[in-house]
Assembly symmetry: C2
Homo-oligomer: 223 residues x 2
Amino acid sequence: MTSVEEPARPGERERVRDAARTQAEILDVATQEFARAGYDGARVDEIAARTRTTKRMIYYYFGGKEQLFTAVLERAYGVIREAEQQLDVDHLDPVAAIRRLAELTFDHHEQHPDFIRLVSIENIHEAQHIAASGKLGKIGSPALDVIRRILEEGRRSGLFTADVDAVDLHALISSFCFFRVSNRHTFGALFGRDLVDPAQRAHYRTMLGDMVIAYLTAERAAD
Amino acid sequence: MTSVEEPARPGERERVRDAARTQAEILDVATQEFARAGYDGARVDEIAARTRTTKRMIYYYFGGKEQLFTAVLERAYGVIREAEQQLDVDHLDPVAAIRRLAELTFDHHEQHPDFIRLVSIENIHEAQHIAASGKLGKIGSPALDVIRRILEEGRRSGLFTADVDAVDLHALISSFCFFRVSNRHTFGALFGRDLVDPAQRAHYRTMLGDMVIAYLTAERAAD
DNA sequence: TCACTAATGTACGAACTAGTACGTTAGCTA
DNA sequence: TAGCTAACGTACTAGTTCGTACATTAGTGA
């Protein structure tokens, strides 16, 4: 998540009024607060109190609580898109490429629990903020293009047998990565196992890769 | 979910005062309201208005909003436990047994979207109500015992090669089933694909089974 | 340097919301 | 059938929460 800790660039004197900084600071704090308490549990006053500015500015820049949450979502999705764009697997064989992609997803989900919480919250509200966003419509994800290319190559070379398209494979990979973070509390409370235990991280990361590869390369009964 | 539509048993005259019926009716409506709006978004007044009783009775029987939500969770988890207890796969070979179990999980998740939403909500609140419940501690799940038996048999017979225990396999199966329902709104909005489209139901159900079997039976590099 | 506007702060209000004090009655039991 | 209590309803309050009217000032362009 883009943060605003650094006081602009060195040499540039910290101005008292800085619209960009104020907005970014509001977004940082709002991200934490919405992720912590959910949309209705989050308090606009609390967000304001934890910035260097006032509630007035939240309404000045974002218009209201709903639009603030939408802006928070837009930025959070932007971050994962950027990470996915860094992905370069064209030099790898399809099996290694898919494993690399799955591991990137795994790592990103683990490193951004706030993002997971925001997405969970947005689903409770039936994606109404995404629908109202404009910036966030059906713009897909860079990962999808990568998956498409890998799948094509994998099938061409005969390594992949599964009858699956890029979107479904993305869902399969995401489901494991997402669940592990999103449901860790209830899962831990009910089954006594912490899915995000650092000592088990490598285990689950391998498990994910094994699962995806096994699925894609399994011998299939006649289609 | 246990419902209270039927006016007791036929012949039994509907009494004006019926503690069990009132409590069940409150739980029914509260389940819907909490699932609809989240914990903080849910309104005690709204729950009361949609029952045949008043807010007073919610406090009389449950004590408060927190305890009401806990009671709602307890009942919802009870329902899935019951479903899992119906499961009888001892007569099936391990591969068929695991597929049957996965499909039962798939079906239950699809048929109980409110349950999924409640669990998502409880995770946003870090499972605090489960922790405070008593009824819901680390009591596991009937499905776990079934998985344990199938895994043992599968490994004994040499069919299963994966180094995975029952809890992790349960997580793998649940993640796909849960994500498909819990994240359908954001996934649909971002990728233009409805994961719960009835026309695709069989496709995803097969995909789940294929994935689990492929993972369990894949040829592994030397361990 | 001066005026203009974007950026900011203060103080407040209207509406909502969880929870409760108090009073009433249905239905069971002796 | 009388009386007792679990079950129920009404009306209210204290505290909260989103949002805004109004006043002020930093920084910039002419």
